[in-house]
């Protein structure tokens, strides 16, 4: 396939499309020249794709001829006035003058809006078959709009966010990381979970909650400063666990 020759055809298609997609003058496209070019290239095409491209170019040229026809008809009509003059006039006229010009050339349609027996019957059927709002939302948007709730590990495994093996190995590596960083000291919770991506941050926070619940780490909060600290524990801790709510935002 000769790329150079194909490029010529593609250029014709592109030119035609750009003229069709704007208010440019369709006579800017030299139809004779473009058809001569397509005619010259036609014997070179051997494959179906090339022939289809050639037909596409012809179709686009035909659309330009249609636009040229419309253009001529418009120019020949009494509506043709120098575009710059019209635009200048509209710019200069006040809103009131424009309204007056419009109203003096306006013939509003006279009509009556009324409900027919057929319309009434249609409305009744629609209302009868209309599902409650909650049902419609479920069909249209799935779970969109459901209030936030809680999800446990089993739920996440079912959703295939984790497999059990992945989860266990991630939990182990997080525990090792915490053990190494804390070394018997308290570390800042937010610094520890911080990652560039929000998803990673949430996953680390989620897994830390497991470590703390399992007694593999302790967590304390300072009520005055709001600072949350963590410390890894070499031995599994006992005692009564307490719930702590920690919000996680995109900021570190």
């Amino acid at each position: 396939m000769d790329e150079k020759k194909l490029e010529d055809v593609l250029r014709v298609i592109e030119l035609c499309r750009s003229v069709q997609g704007s208010s440019a003058n369709p006579f800017d496209v030299d139809i004779r020249e473009k058809i001569a070019l397509l005619k010259k290239r036609l014997p070179d095409w051997n494959f179906l794709d090339e022939l289809l491209l050639d037909s596409e170019a012809m179709l686009e040229l035909a659309q330009i001829v249609r636009l040229q026809d419309e253009w001529l008809k418009h120019r020949a009509s009494a509506l043709y006035i120098d575009p710059f003059l019209v635009q200048l006039k509209v710019r200069l006229l006040s809103k009131e003058e424009l309204i007056e010009a419009f109203v003096r050339s306006w013939h509003p349609i006279a009509q009556l809006d009324q409900i027919s027996p057929q319309g009434l019957e249609k409305a009744f059927s629609y209302w009868r078959d209309l599902q409650p709002l909650s049902e419609r939302f479920r069909t249209d948007f799935g779970n969109y709009g459901v209030k936030p709730g809680s999800i446990d590990l089993e739920g996440l495994l079912k959703m295939r966010v984790f497999t059990q093996e992945e989860f266990d190995s991630e939990l182990k590596s997080l525990y090792d990381e915490l053990m190494e960083k804390s070394g018997g000291e308290w570390v800042d919770y937010r610094e520890f979970i911080d990652k560039p991506k929000m998803e990673e941050k949430v996953i680390r926070a989620y897994m830390l909650a497991f470590l703390v619940s399992e007694g593999m780490a302790s967590l304390k909060t300072d009520p005055l400063t709001g600072k949350v600290s963590l410390m890894a524990s070499a031995k599994k801790l006992g005692g009564t666990p307490k719930s702590v709510a920690i919000s996680i935002t995109g900021e570190s």
């Binding site: 050339s105 013939h107 349609i109």
Partner: protein, 186 residues
């Protein structure tokens, strides 16, 4: 001289034509030629002419908007005001009077561009005179109501409703003559 039975038949058909035209059936006002043929018979255009004559006394007329192929069957027939309303009457039409200025400018701009103008191009032009929110809101509304047509390339054309309700020649003449102290309504 027309036979009494023929006259009665004609009167009945004219009444029927008026009822068909005045009641809005679909989403858009007016009735297509093929529908009128179904209601009034093959000579429906003659009946429409008689009705149009009779409507003069009420200040109305039957107006035909040619369809895409130019045949009578695809034409849309509708009843419209024979003479333009006053500005006070226009204010009761449901369209905000300020929005009419946007429509007048849009039609003039599209016509000045040989009947098709890019939406963004028109928006930019209108923003010189009207606030951005009004321009976008009004254009959407006029496209929806059939005064303007927008194609898949975001080019705007004059819609069927403009061809039905607005005497574009008069509008263009009025716009050009404003400010020069000369007014023409031909």
């Amino acid at each position: 001289m027309m036979e009494p039975t023929d006259r009665a038949l004609l009167e009945r058909k004219v009444r029927k034509a008026f009822q068909v035209l005045i009641l809005q059936r679909g989403r858009n006002p007016g009735v297509k030629g093929w529908e009128l043929k179904r209601h009034l018979g093959r000579d429906y255009k003659k009946i429409i002419e008689v009705l149009s004559e009779e409507m003069i006394g009420l200040g109305l007329e039957v107006f035909e908007v040619k369809g895409p192929d130019g045949t009578d069957d695809t034409s849309r027939f509708l009843l419209r005001f024979r003479d333009p309303p006053t500005i006070t009457e226009a204010e009761t039409s449901g369209i905000r009077i300020d929005d009419l200025a946007v429509l007048a400018s849009s039609i003039a701009f599209v016509n000045s561009k040989q009947g098709r103008a890019g939406r963004r191009e028109l928006e930019q032009f209108l923003r010189e005179k009207f606030p951005k929110w009004r321009v976008e809101y009004s254009l959407d509304r006029y496209v929806k109501r059939g005064y303007l047509e927008q194609d898949d390339k975001a080019l705007l054309h004059v819609g069927w409703r403009t061809r039905a309700e607005i005497d574009e020649k008069t509008l263009m003449t009025m716009i050009l003559s404003r400010g020069s102290g000369e007014v023409s309504s031909s």
